[in-house]
């Protein structure tokens, strides 16, 4: 045995995550682009710079990068302090920690103090698979959405994240970005347009409109295409800005479709489904809404793709739920 013989190309270690997963580049590249435009970006991470890809930014701009160690609450409040003196802080950690552990720091120090901090909750939903409930975030939309003066954006993929970050420069409120693990199949091409607060209506459907955010957007589109090819009429709306939500887009869908369905990698309580239900109830839109997601339980553990299949958040699962939703109408 030779102790220092070269390893197999199939072996990998944590610091090589970027090379394995180029989807992690979007965040760093978007921030570097802002720096190039002259924006006072400061990025920070709490001992997860290889998980969120910010190591790439740190290498490029060491003077604009803050290492916090494992202290997420301190990171959020320091970011608020940075913003008070004119910086544009982007701080990132797992969504489970940002959306739950740091809830009060986000409420008190970021949102209530009206500091333009950008919070990046990554590996959201059940994308951490068998790392388990401590690392799953199926409540973060609910907690962040209930905080006044905080915008909540859940991009579907890397290009949309990049576009949303670009669009966020002039946005007056702090923002919680809810993102995946950088392995989401692309819905959009790099350079896609993004307007905060505006839904993207991909296709219109008479029978059903699926309103999705985040990772389920891609499988929802795939499911709708398949159903439409089979003669059904299914629309898809991508709702990346969960707050402030695009009320008009929801009402247009309610007027057009017999049934609405939401799809999200989140508890069906308090997330996108609830946000859509609030609009429908407010406006007295008499249309059935089927909320699809995690049904008020702690997810099982398994590899992420297995979980998406189990919870019917992949294309086949969303197609099946859509068929049930259409069958249930009235």
């Amino acid at each position: 045995m030779i102790a220092n013989a070269p390893l197999s190309p199939d072996s990998w270690q944590y610091r090589a995550l970027n090379a394995i997963n180029p989807g992690l580049d979007f965040l760093s590249d978007a921030l570097a682009a802002l720096v190039a435009e002259g924006h006072p970006v400061i990025a920070g991470a709490a001992d997860l710079q290889y998980s969120n890809g910010l190591n790439r930014f740190a290498q490029r701009h060491p003077d604009r990068y803050v290492q916090f160690g494992i202290s997420e609450q301190n990171m959020v409040t320091v970011a608020a302090g940075l913003a008070t003196v004119g910086h544009m802080p982007f701080v990132a950690t797992f969504a489970s920690f940002l959306g739950l552990l740091c809830c009060e720091q986000i409420r008190m120090d970021v949102a209530y103090c009206a500091q333009k901090v950008r919070l990046i909750g990554h590996h959201t939903g059940i994308s951490l698979g068998f790392y388990g409930t401590s690392h799953h975030a199926t409540e973060d939309i609910a907690t962040m959405r209930a905080i006044a003066d905080l915008t909540v954006i859940s991009p579907a993929d890397g290009p949309q994240l990049e576009a949303a970050i670009k669009a966020s420069v002039t946005w007056p409120q702090p923002i919680y970005f809810r993102i995946g693990r950088g392995r989401e199949p692309d819905v959009y091409a790099r350079g896609t347009d993004f307007t905060i607060g505006r839904a993207i209506e991909h296709m219109a459907g008479e029978e059903l409109t699926i309103i999705a955010c985040g990772l389920p957007v891609h499988p929802a589109l795939e499911a709708a295409r398949k159903l439409n090819a089979a003669g059904r009429s299914v629309g898809v709306i991508d709702m990346p800005t969960v707050k402030p939500i695009d009320r008009e887009a929801i009402l247009r869908a309610a007027a057009r479709s017999k049934v609405l369905m939401t799809a999200e990698e989140h508890n069906v309580m308090g997330g996108l489904g609830s946000a859509v239900a609030e609009v429908l109830a407010d406006e007295g839109a008499g249309v059935r809404l089927v909320r699809h997601g995690i049904h008020d339980e702690y997810s099982l553990i398994a590899p992420p793709t297995h979980l998406y299949a189990h919870y019917r958040l992949d294309a086949a699962g969303i197609e099946a739920v859509a068929l049930e939703a259409m069958a249930r109408r009235r």
Partner: protein, 294 residues
Amino acid sequence: MPPTADAPARGSNSFDPTPEEVARLREKARFVRLETLRLIEIAKVGHYSSVFSAAEIFAALYYDVMRLRAGDPGWPDRDRFLMGKGHAAVGLFPILADHGFIPKDVLDGYTRLGNPLGDHPDMRKVPGIDFSSGSIGHALSAGAGMAWGGRAKGQDFTVFVMLGDGEMQEGQVWEAALFSAHHKLSRLIAIVDRNGFQLDGMVDDVMGIEPLAGKWRAFGWEVHEVDGHDLSALTALLRRLKADTTRQGPACIVAKTLKGKGVTFMETEPGWHLGYLAPEDAARAAEEIRTREI
């Protein structure tokens, strides 16, 4: 004025305030206590003794040590002040009015509907408040962010963060302490108002924090202990720490204070952390504050 960084080196005594300066600061501390009595009479409940333990710290900072510009609370180069123990804000509001950051008549509506002044400081509502607080344990992190951010922009302002001693029980304080030492935030100065009491009793009974100076030292801070009511020693120390441009990290002052300092019946009854003085008792307290030398 305290010596500046480019002044010639002098002995440690050069930071001492003159007797006239001390007398002036003593009047300001008196003003803080009396105004606190007046404002709490409007609210009918408030944190008297939490202000009284810190009155000399307020006076030394806002009337001697801090770089401020009257009437210009948003001046980017001003020194910053944050209060972890935000419930003592009633003692700070009169100072902000005195500096022209808020109109003086706003004080008269303290805590009344539509008035910006409440029990805790609110940066969205009150010019001159550098950061909001109310949830114990956040302020040192926010101050660390300001110190990091100021250094990154080439600014030389100093960030003062006043913390309660009960606040030492919050975990985030120690996250911020690690962070500030690791990042060598030499423009950050924490002041612990070590008055010994929290709502449920003596800090050392509720959840002991000693050895406190040793803890900060172990976290990599330069630590000084001082009598928090000795305006001469306190002011000299603050001046010296602010002027020191050779320090490689943050500094912490453990200010030994007395909860309710200045009013005898409060000094012996820790329950005055929160309360209300009927007008005749407030008058008694005011009389003592006006006449007693601290």
